[in-house]
Amino acid sequence: MIAANPRIRDLPPGLLAQRFSEASVTLDYGAALVRVRTLLKPFVRDFQRVYGAFFLAEEASFADFHTEVCSGKGLRAIFGPQSRFLIDGIQPFDPFPREQALPHFEWGVNWCFGKRFNQHVLLHSGVLALGDRGVIMAAPPGSGKSTLTAAMMLRGFRLLSDEFGVLCPHTGQLWPMLKPVALKNRSIDVIRAYTDQAILGPVYGGTRKGDVVHLAPDEASVDARKLPARPHLVLFPRFREGAALTTRRLPSEEAFARLAFNSFNYGLLGQISFNAVADVIDACSAFELEYSRLDEAIEYLRAMLSESTVAAAAA
C-alpha cells in the first residue's frame, strides 16, 4: 500500500501547496498524527525538503493535533512578514519572521507533544535502534546529543526521535516520534563535513537558539515509523574535544534519577512514569560515554547493541 503512495519529495510542489491549503496534509510522526494547514509558500518549500521521505497519510480521518501556520496580523505583518503557529485556534507563542516558518512549526509541534501527549512518558532524549533494540540517549543540551543522533542515523541506525523519547507506560515500548533533527551552530558544520549523504534544510540564522539546520529523516526510519523498539541501552553521551573514548557504567539509581528528571512530564505522570522509568532501568544497562570521534562512538554503540555484548556487559 505504501509503495503506491509517493513520498513528499516526489509530489509536484503545486499539489503539495494545494493539499496544505485544504488542510488535508496529515503527517505521521509514528506516535502521533499532526494535521497541518498553511498558505505560506516558504514553509511549503522548506517542508518538502526536510520531510521529503515522509508520506501524506491518505484519508486520515483522525489527527492528534490540528495545527495551522499562517501569516502575521495587522501593521506588524506589513513591515516584517511573520508566521504564526496555531493549535486548535490557540497561538502558544509570539510570531516568527516568515522565512523561519518551518523552525516555528517544529517548535510548535514540540509544544503540542509536550503539553498534550501525556499518554506517554516523554523522555528528553534521542532514541535510535538497530532492529527492535533501542538506545535511549539522554543528555543535557550542549552535550552533542543531536550531533551523535544525526551521525548514527547517517551510519544506518534507525532514528526514532531526536528530542522526544516516547515511552509507552502500558507496553514499555519506545515509539518513534520521527521529526527532522534540529542541528545547532557548530554541529551543522560537523555533520556537513561528516558525509555528503545528509539531506539538510536551509540555515535559519539568528533564532532563539542561534543558527539552526534540519536534517531530514531517512527513508528506512520513515518506513519503520509504526514499529516500536525495546529499550536496551541508556546512554549519557558527552562530546569533549580530543577525548579518547571512555565509558563509565552508571549505578542504576543514578541512571534512574538522570533519566527521570530529564523527562518532560515525569513529575506530571506521578506513579505511571515512576514505574515506566524503573522498568527501563531494570531492562537496560546505563553508561556515560565520552568521545571526540563520531565513528569511534558509533562503532562502539553498534557493538553494544548486538545482543551478546549487552548480555556480557550486564554480567
Partner: protein, 83 residues
C-alpha cells in the same frame, strides 16, 4: 506503607510516595536501611528510638554522619520512620 511504592534497581533503589508524589533516590546504603525498616515496620512507622537502636546495634550503621541524617529525614518524610 500502602502509599509507598519501592523498586530495587541494581544495588540501589527508588521510592515513589503517592501522598506527596515525590520520588526518592536511594543509594545502596539507603536501600538496605529502607528494606530493613520496611521489614520490621508492620504497616506503621517504626518509632524513631527503636529504629536508631536497630540500625546501630543490628546493622552497625553510624547514624551520626550528615548523609545518614539526610537518609533518616527522607524516611521520616515517607512515613517509614516515626517522628
Amino acid at each position: 506503607m500502602t502509599d509507598i511504592a519501592y523498586r530495587r534497581l541494581g544495588d540501589g533503589g527508588v521510592v515513589f510516595d503517592s501522598k506527596s508524589w515525590q520520588t526518592h533516590i536511594l543509594t545502596p546504603a539507603a536501600a538496605i536501611i529502607f528494606e530493613a525498616l520496611a521489614e520490621i515496620n508492620e504497616g506503621e512507622p517504626v518509632p524513631q528510638a527503636q529504629a536508631l537502636d536497630f540500625l546501630r546495634d543490628e546493622l552497625d550503621v553510624d547514624i551520626d554522619t550528615p548523609e545518614m541524617k539526610e537518609v533518616l529525614r527522607s524516611l521520616e518524610e515517607m512515613g517509614i520512620l516515626g517522628g
